[in-house]
Amino acid sequence: MISEQGVKDFLQTGGYIADDAIATAVFLALRMEKPILIEGPPGVGKTGLAKALSQALDFPLVRLQCYEGIDEGKALYDWEYGKQLLYTQLLRTQLDNYLSVSADLREAVERLSGEESLFFSKNFLVQRPILKSFLSEKRSLLLIDEIDRSDDEFEALLLECLSDFQISIPELGVIEAKRKPLTILTSNGTRMISDALRRRCLFLYIGYPEMEREVAIVRVKFPDLCEGLARQMVAFLRKVRELNLRKPPSVSETLDWAQVLSILQVKQLTPQVVANTVGTIAKHQSDLQKVAELAVKELS
């Protein structure tokens, strides 16, 4: 079917430059139908990978943003109480007719309970992201973003979904995925994720990219930026990352900066240019100072 190099190539058409580890992970996830758990510092393209994949593979993207307190009603499915109520109201006259046939109360209850499944059927089920991706006719890409922000309970809830690609709904029974979605979980590592969840996933760590890859990323996103400048700014940012800043600049900052530089039509980095645009790469007061100092040291 697809090879690793193939994965790399089609990701590139989606505007994402992957390294070998990423390509292997995507390849395996597609073949083994297992979720990928991606960890790494913010802004290195974890969510970007999912977006690029959905674009390149033409899988519809179903995104679930996690937050503290998210539960199954928000992630899997929910019953539409309002609609259920409305239907009972509207059907009242029909129900009266239907039940008037029965002789006594007991029989009426029995008749009604025979129709109970009417109100707990798929008509009244609200599909939340995970169920939606499972029921999608086309193979979809399920992105569970920032799983570390959710609670332990929610993680446990995901276990069944991720290992067997099925959801148990008490009223309906087990719903299995029509096409197993390609699942990507991302985490910033603010909380330890349980081993049970890790075991069900392929684990991919995306760190800061190597020089060549980062230059390539900049070149793909901003083709009008000349290669020399791209190289110079990436080299500079790599030094900045070693500075031990509170928030080291990651790839997204590189791209922001590249955009700023191309708007300003800068041809070469100078301490002055860095000082003017430092807000795009350093996000704390104390960091600004350090970056400016480094620029004077490195670039003049």
Binding site: T24, M32, L37, Y81, R198, R199
Partner: protein, 467 residues
Amino acid sequence: MERLVVAFVAELRKNGIRVSPSESLDAVQALALGGMEGRRLSRRLLRLTLVKNVNDIPVFNEIFNSFFSRFRPVDEELDLSRVLDAALISMEGEFTCLNEQCDDHEEPGPLLRLDSSIAPEDLQDLKSLHELDPDDTDGNEIVVQMKGYRGKAKAPRPTRRYTQNPLTIELNKSNAVDRGIVFSPEEQADMQQVVSLMMLRLRKDMRRMKNNQHRGKLHVIKTIQKNYRHDMVPFQLALRRKRREKPRLVVLCDVSFSVSHAARFLMLLLHTLQNQQLDVRSFIFNREVAEITDMLANMPVNDLMETIDTGDVVDLDENSSYGEMLVKFKERHLQNLRGRPAFIILGDARNNYGEANDWVLDEIREKARYMLWLTPEERDTWSRGDCLLDIYGSYCDKVEVVRTVEDLSLVVEDLLRDIYADRAHPIDRKRLEEAKAAEEYDSKDYYTRGAGGSGAPSFDPSGRSKW
């Protein structure tokens, strides 16, 4: 191939990476799908399926390099062509190994590897060396005799400040490192780990409890808003929130020589906790009593320890006196303790035959939600000599013997649990009590139970964790 993967997984497990059987199955499947040509590819495949933690990646790389470059003896039964194949593959492995310096996670393995097995004679040599060690001769006997008296048996330090000139004081500061007064970064990291494990266990209960704790009366407007789409039938309730405060703790720590190590660890533990979710007020005492809450918050722990050791906070050269300390504590601090804190007193209750003044504890008791006394001594020495723990202990809710850091963290964890349970919603309180009863046989560290406790961070090998 299965055999190879299983052997590799065994090697990983031996080095502390947890790999489940299903993960090894994944690895086999991944290798079948991805192909085995090239060392880098196989390593990526194995890493994706077997390693599930960032911190394990360097260990994995190391083991991979050593495992797949090791020269393996081949059975005679194998035919020559297969042996040659194997040799070729391993040679290719070496070449690719040399070619992949640019790989981000690569640590080049050693080019020459010596056989790591140690001959039995060597072991014998090592053992005999051990026995010649002067510290080790008839060590057992002494330990038994010193049980509970370890601190007292130590000669008091001479008062350095008066007997020595400034120059040697500076030297002594560096000596302090050797005596183990300063915490090494590893120890602090270990403490962080102990605390974070503890917090992890606690947090699970806390979070659930927090939701209930916030609960107040029905918030009518919000409920109506929320249920608008349900035709105002209140399916979902919105409740008013209650204000929540951090649990308060007051810690009284004996810093005299007899219990100094225990005191230090308790302080470090509380210092680490303070940042997280506690309101701790810490006091240290010998004969004097002084509050160190602000110092704990603002100074690096090591500096603080040093300051305490020089006797600048409380005079360490005097004999400790619990009676005097209690009276002073009552006079100066008891008035301004707010909000029914829980008290922890750490000390051996050796009063040096002074006045007991145990009536103060009665007053403290009135103010306290809970009183806990921690002592490093065993139960049978509590009334021996000048130890007043039997008297003092009768005022406390609980007296616990703590000898190791793990003991300490467990005791503090239990205390926190109790405090939280005390403030919790009645439903939660019941649930917590049930959970606690169930925990008697359900060990907290399921994974480490079988592994001989290797999972719990060992605090130090030099015996400091035994006070």
